[in-house]
């Protein structure tokens, strides 16, 4: 049985179910209690699970991320929210040096089963410091499992797995998708981490896209007379390169569209994996599309200018033929 719920409801359901399922799971972050999160992602959880399990924190990402690390090593399973993905940088040392590296430098003796989640992405006129997509930052630091959510189905199933996983997981919903609706099973389910999903099958070109860009890619391809295969990586690190490569072996063409900045972004990395390992399966050079190499501006015409639009994606696909 399925029903339609919003993406942000799916996020809240994932946390709710994991709090109910496992006493070791706790949720903390700024404004996660009565306020319910900026997008409603923690609504109702405090009333249901109480203040021991759902805790407001003082305003410091350093404290939130650092405490999550210690709590995880200490034997519980923290789920910690940063209000915007950009704030990964305000907890820079914790996010880049401590959490992903402590299990490694311990020789695997230390376990840090924590999940940090943070709404990412542009499109709401939130400006340069509240709009970034940071999976390229995080993917560059081995030790993080980096997961994005594209649909309500993904959001719930992947978030539940993130919480259950024994690695540090950075889970990135997209704020523009908060109110989008989609089918989600009534019954309990999880989705595998580290596995890409073939969302649409096609023979002519492989388009790799996630979060908002997945939806824009679908919009872009609706009117094209090209048979497009769309792959949603879901987990960016470690990346399921094989599913993408297998698709390119079939289609011979690759377009990677992502909301990370083009310069040193995810797009280049994914394209390079194919160029280095599957060059002779390509009938055309790979096309990479991302945020232009500027900070994300506020004014809507400026903001839309730097984000990949459906038109830019369509043009990118057509340029390969």
């Amino acid at each position: 049985m399925t029903r339609e719920i919003t993406y942000v409801q799916a996020v809240a359901e994932a946390i709710d179910e994991e709090l109910a399922r496992d006493d070791d799971v706790i949720l903390f972050g700024e404004d996660v209690e009565e306020f319910g999160g900026n997008f409603g992602e923690t609504e109702g959880l405090y009333q249901k699970h109480g203040r021991d399990r759902v805790r407001n924190t003082p305003l410091s990402e350093i404290g939130i991320a650092g405490m999550a690390l210690g709590a995880a090593v200490g034997g519980i399973r923290p789920v910690a929210e940063l209000q915007f993905a950009d704030f990964a940088a305000t907890a820079g040392d914790e996010v880049f040096n401590q959490i992903p590296k402590q299990p490694y430098v311990s020789g695997g003796k230390l376990k840090a089963p924590l999940t940090i989640f943070a709404p990412s992405g542009a499109g709401i006129g939130a400006g340069a410091q509240h709009s970034q997509s940071v999976h390229s930052w995080l993917g560059n630091v081995p030790g993080w499992v980096v997961v994005t959510a594209t649909t309500p189905y993904d959001a719930k199933g992947l978030f539940k797995s993130a919480i259950r996983d024994d690695n540090p997981v950075f889970f990135l919903p997209h704020k523009m998708l908060s109110e989008t609706k989609g089918e989600v099973p009534e019954e309990e389910y999880t989705l595998a981490l580290g596995e890409a999903a073939v969302e649409e099958e096609g023979d002519d070109v492989t388009v790799v896209a996630t979060q908002l860009m997945f939806h824009r890619a679908r919009e872009a391809t609706a009117d094209l007379d090209i048979d497009v295969e769309i792959i949603n990586p879901r987990t960016f690190a470690p990346l399921d390169t094989e599913t993408i490569a297998e698709s390119v072996r079939k289609t011979g063409r690759l377009v990677v569209v992502d909301e990370t900045v083009e310069r040193y972004g995810t797009q280049g990395h994914i394209a390079n994996e194919i160029v280095e390992n599957d060059f002779f399966s390509l009938d055309a050079p790979p096309k990479t599309i991302g945020v232009k190499n500027v900070p994300i501006p506020l004014s809507p015409p400026l903001e839309q200018e730097v984000l990949p639009s459906a038109d830019r994606i369509a043009a990118g696909i057509e340029s390969l033929f």
Partner: protein, 334 residues
């Protein structure tokens, strides 16, 4: 001035022995590093031995220690990590506490509740708050002790940890080992009279003590742990010590005043002072101390032999421990 001995004779002897163990182990480390047997760089604990042993003795086996500052080896020893595990880790060998993935700055021993170290100075205190939170949620009465140097207290992350610990009144004991030098920057340039004063706005208990006196450290940390165990919340302790060694081996210390340095070596050596104190009160004899030293030298020699004989890691081991695999659900549908 003759100081009293405030602990029983056996405990006093253990304190002296513990400090000597750090000193002898580190002297050997210095030699081995000088001979090129130990990679990376090495920071030694000279002057901090009393602070380390007093703190370690105050802690229960199930209390967490998240070490900070740069004087680390003494703290690992004080938490009970076996010497061969530490030495082999310094050597970067398979038999090391962290299989060579960590080295001198990252010895951790989860079984002994040694969390390890944030080598980016001043980032270990928030994890310590998290460790205390985990203990509270698991309804134990264990506490988390965390150390930091005077330099690290200038990091915002240290102050954030105080905010968070106070917010939930968590069982955390912050020990600031103030040796007056952040490499070459003197702590006296910082505003507070005592660095423990940083706890005052958070309404925490604060103490500033002579950290070169092992007994003072033992009593003060014991009291703070007891308070934390009984729901009394966090404490900030400034343990004032002298740094009687270079910041790291190779530091020429051109910034230090020679006379003052000599005076500190004369007056603030925790081992020498305690040795005299116990001898004066007939708690130990010269022969007893010689035996103690001989036994420790044997232990240290064995630790070096263990490290030398422990294999170098296979290069492929560099890829281990990045992720625990399979990831959740991975491969289940294939």
């Amino acid at each position: 001035m003759t100081q009293n001995v405030s602990v029983d004779d056996e405990t006093a002897r253990q304190f002296l022995e513990g400090m000597l163990r750090i000193d002898i182990f580190e002297e050997e480390t210095k030699e081995r590093f000088g001979e090129g047997e130990i990679p990376g760089f090495v920071h030694l604990s000279g002057g901090h031995e009393g602070s380390h042993i007093g703190m370690g003795a105050a802690m229960g086996d199930d209390d967490w220690l998240a070490v900070g500052g740069a004087r680390l080896i003494g703290q690992y020893i004080a938490k009970g990590v076996p010497l061969p595990d530490i030495m082999a880790e310094l050597y970067g060998r398979v038999g090391g506490s962290n299989k060579g993935h960590g080295g001198q700055m990252h010895v951790s021993d989860i079984g002994r509740k040694l969390y390890g170290h944030a080598a980016t100075i001043g980032s270990g205190q928030n994890p310590a708050v998290g460790l205390a939170l985990a203990e509270e949620i698991q309804e134990t009465d264990n506490v988390a002790v965390t150390t930091i140097g005077d330099g690290g207290t200038s990091r915002g992350s240290f102050h954030t940890a105080l905010v968070f610990a106070a917010y939930w009144d968590l069982p955390v004991v912050f020990v600031i080992e103030n040796n007056e030098w952040a490499i070459s920057t003197p702590a006296e340039s910082l505003s507070p009279d005592h660095l423990s004063d940083y706890g005052i706005p958070h309404k925490m208990a604060t103490e500033s003590i002579d950290g070169s006196d092992v007994e003072a450290v033992y009593h003060t940390v014991s009291e703070a742990i007891e308070r934390a165990r009984n729901g009394g919340g966090p404490t900030v302790i400034e343990s004032r010590v002298a740094r009687l060694v270079p910041h790291f081996e190779g530091d020429k210390e051109t910034y230090r005043d020679t006379d003052e340095y000599e005076r500190l070596k004369e007056e603030k050596d925790p081992i020498e002072n305690y040795r005299e104190r116990l001898l004066e009160r007939d708690i130990v004899t010269e022969t007893g101390i010689e035996d103690m030293i001989a036994n420790i030298e044997t232990e240290v020699k064995e630790a070096v032999e263990f490290a030398r004989e422990s294999p170098e890691p296979e290069p492929e081991a560099a890829y281990d421990h990045v992720y625990r695999t399979p990831l959740y659900g991975q491969g289940e549908n294939q």
